[in-house]
């Protein structure tokens, strides 16, 4: 019966087009991750200051950064500062000609990520970033380098002229500081572009894909009525029990297979193309200020699970609405509202932001949310919103299963 339910979904032209679109989203994600077109471009600037792209560029970047591999301690930081100073002293770096500046940059590519977090650590304020901060540093101390992170966040949280002072309660401020303290230092550096791009572009499949999945699933219950097949369906032996279960199973299978299949292909493509190295690097290489102490591998696993739970919840919700209202249009509209509404309402009020931070759309773009400071106090205990929303939506997804069944089971023609 599950096979026939899937056949109903994919048998029509709309279903086939939706499947093609889902594959297109996968292809788009793979392209974006391999080129870095929407964030940091994956490129290699050669000795002539010209940008190179493609597998050869990836190989050169990897080789250059592998030379700087290791713990980012006093010694490593000192070497980076020294090398940065040496390059800055060259005529190419001092030149106003773009190509000359690019040549100077090409010599910095090997330690560019370390240079980036130097900018973060020694910035003038928590919310500031100056690309040239690292160029002004002549000497460095390992302890200061890592301690600056905690110092800056404390200054930010207790600065009465900043909104954060009023936004977070004392216990929430302490919680944030505690998370900062718990971060293991020193960091380990190795080439991690594969994981960086993988995570940066990980939101497209869950976010765009769910719209397609909801379109496919919106009619799974209601189409019986639309096609006027309900009278025969409900007058059969299994129409009100096994066949209803088959619809739920088909929905679950469709979401699971398409989501995990696409994410697996996307992961393998990206990592095979850009490299598997760097899984153990902390996400602070990209999100210096993050309150989540995770390495790239852990972040990726959580992004996968979070995206899946978000997809599962929205799919089941669509199916439940389809069963409840007998309307495909209404069923397909709801996830759109849930996904896009938060972006219109965010920033209107602090309390509203806290509610919106729990919306399922945040699960779909898990990695981007690792950089946010969304925290909640529930019964006096402080939580990061992602720590709440993952179990919350998993529970709601499980609850929706009997709800769908009972709703449709009760239906008569």
């Amino acid at each position: 019966m599950v096979r026939y339910e899937l056949k109903k979904v994919f048998g029509c032209v709309g279903g086939k087009i939706a499947l093609v679109l889902y594959i297109a989203v996968l292809a788009l994600s793979c392209w974006l991750s391999s080129t870095g077109a929407l964030n940091a471009e994956v490129k290699w600037v050669n000795e002539q200051g010209k940008s190179e792209y493609g597998p050869a560029a990836v190989r050169k970047l990897r080789e250059a950064q592998t030379e700087w591999e290791g713990w980012v301690d006093q010694d490593k930081l000192g070497r980076v500062i020294q090398e940065n100073q040496r390059i800055n002293a060259t005529p190419e770096a001092k030149s106003d000609i773009v190509q000359q500046s690019e040549i100077a940059y090409s010599w910095k590519q090997g330690f560019a990520p370390i240079r980036k977090i130097l900018n973060e650590s020694y910035s003038n304020g928590f919310r500031e970033y100056d690309y040239y901060t690292a160029d002004r540093i002549t000497a460095i101390d390992e302890d200061t380098f890592y301690a600056n992170r905690e110092k800056l966040v404390k200054n930010w949280l207790y600065d009465e002229t900043d909104g954060a002072y009023f936004k977070y309660s004392e216990s929430e401020k302490q919680y944030i500081i505690e998370q900062y303290k718990e971060l293991q230092t020193p960091f380990y550096f190795t080439y991690y572009e594969g994981w960086h791009q993988l995570l940066e572009n990980a939101g497209y499949i869950p976010s765009l894909g769910i719209l397609i999945l909801c379109f496919l699933l919106a009619g799974i219950f209601s189409n019986e009525f639309k096609w006027k097949a309900d009278a025969v369906y409900f007058s059969t032996l299994c129409g009100r029990n096994k066949a209803t279960s088959a619809k739920i199973k088909a929905g679950f299978l469709l979401v699971t297979v398409l989501y995990w299949g696409a994410m697996l292909i996307y992961s393998l493509f990206t990592l095979c193309y850009l490299g598997f190295e760097g899984a153990s690097c902390v996400i602070q290489w990209q999100f210096w200020k993050s309150i989540y102490n995770l390495n790239m591998w852990q972040a990726w696993m959580l992004a996968l699970i979070s995206g899946y739970i978000g997809n599962l919840f929205l799919s089941f919700l669509t199916m439940w609405i389809s069963a409840k209202t007998k309307s495909t249009v209404f069923a397909v509209t709801t996830p759109f509202i849930l996904i896009f509404l938060p972006s219109f309402l965010e920033g209107m009020a602090n309390w509203l932001d806290k509610i919106l931070s729990l919306m399922p759309s945040h699960l779909l773009e898990f990695y981007q949310n690792l950089g946010s400071f969304n925290i909640l106090t529930i019964f006096g205990k402080v939580f990061r919103t992602l720590d709440v929303s993952i179990p919350l939506y998993l529970t709601l997804s499980v609850i929706l299963i009997p709800m769908m069944y009972l709703e449709y089971h009760r239906k008569r023609a």
Binding site: M1, Y4, K7, K8, G11, C12, E224, W227, K228, A229, D230, A231, V232, Y233, F234, S235, T236, L237, C238, G239, R240, N241, K242, A243, R412, A413
Partner: protein, 295 residues
């Protein structure tokens, strides 16, 4: 094997769609005849457990059908009036899916589908998509799905609606073939659909059972005789308004009318042998939509 309908009533607000309907059905073909809105479909939906009655009972071999739940539906074959299907399924897929809904194991279903496709004459078209079929072919696929579980109770709601005359004859014969050892309840508002194949005919009016019996019994018990007369053109309208006119045949001198009336409509009117259509007109004449009583 009997299906007893006891004092069955279905109300929608103040409107009684089925009003204290009682009847016993045993093996054979039953024709449920009534005008549109008489309550035939509501009655059938209750018989298929798609709708619960407001009061009354439907009993199968001594057990309430709603209490029997799946066990009752396992005995049921149903072709609804508004027969829906899955447009992108082939006939074969459609029948295999309905077989799965009916709890038939795939191996048995394959064999059964093969037999039924042959019986309804759809073997060659079995891989055609349902949405590409003609009205008659869809109805044949519909009867095949209803027969998949070899039902003890076969309920056909207006199965010939929208079919051309040759398809209707073909369909009628098919139902006749399939009616052995089961209860077949066939609703229609087209008299000729059931005239020759139904054992008992149930006339339903305003949700109630008006009269029942074999075609012969119904004809013999007609409360009004049937007349044939010739009238000039100038009197046709007056006759149409005054009597239940079963037929108007234009001839050079006026028209030959077939009239159901207690009294002789014209002096030259002669009594003729009534048909089931005359019975229908006799009972439903006022409800055929025209205030003048024509069918």
């Amino acid at each position: 094997m009997d299906l007893r309908i006891r004092d069955l009533t279905k109300e929608f607000g103040d409107f009684k769609a089925v009003d204290h309907f009682s009847y016993d059905l045993r093996c054979g073909v039953y024709g449920l005849l009534g005008v549109n809105g008489a309550g035939k479909t509501t009655l059938m939906r209750m018989l298929t457990t798609l709708m619960k009655p407001t009061s009354g009972q439907i009993i199968w071999d001594g057990e309430d059908i709603f209490a029997m739940d799946g066990r009752y539906r396992n005995l049921l074959g149903y072709l609804p009036q508004d027969f829906g299907y899955y447009p992108d399924f082939s006939i074969y897929d459609y029948l295999m899916y309905i077989a799965a809904l009916k709890g038939i194991r795939p191996a048995v279903a394959k064999q059964r589908v093969k037999e039924l496709l042959k019986q309804v004459g759809l073997v060659k078209a079995r891989y055609k998509k349902m949405k590409t079929l003609s009205g008659g072919m869809k109805r044949r696929a519909g009867i095949a799905q209803a027969m998949l579980n070899d039902p003890k109770i076969l309920i056909l709601d207006e199965p010939t609606a929208g079919l051309d005359p040759s398809e209707r004859i073909r369909f009628r014969n098919l139902i006749s073939e399939l009616s052995e050892d089961r209860i077949v309840l066939l609703s229609t508002h087209i008299v000729s659909d059931i005239e020759y194949i139904a054992g008992d005919i149930l006339l339903m009016k305003d949700g109630c059972l008006s009269v029942s019996g074999t075609a012969e019994e119904l004809i013999n018990s007609m409360p009004e005789p049937v007349w044939s007369c010739t009238v000039p053109k100038s009197r046709i309208d007056a006759c149409l308004k005054a009597y239940k006119v079963a037929n108007v045949k234009t001839i050079p001198v006026g028209a030959e009318l077939r009239i159901v009336s207690r009294g002789r409509p014209t002096e030259d009117a002669v009594r003729v042998v009534p048909t089931l259509e005359d019975v229908f007109l006799c009972y439903f004449g006022e409800r055929t939509g025209d205030s003048d009583g024509t069918v």
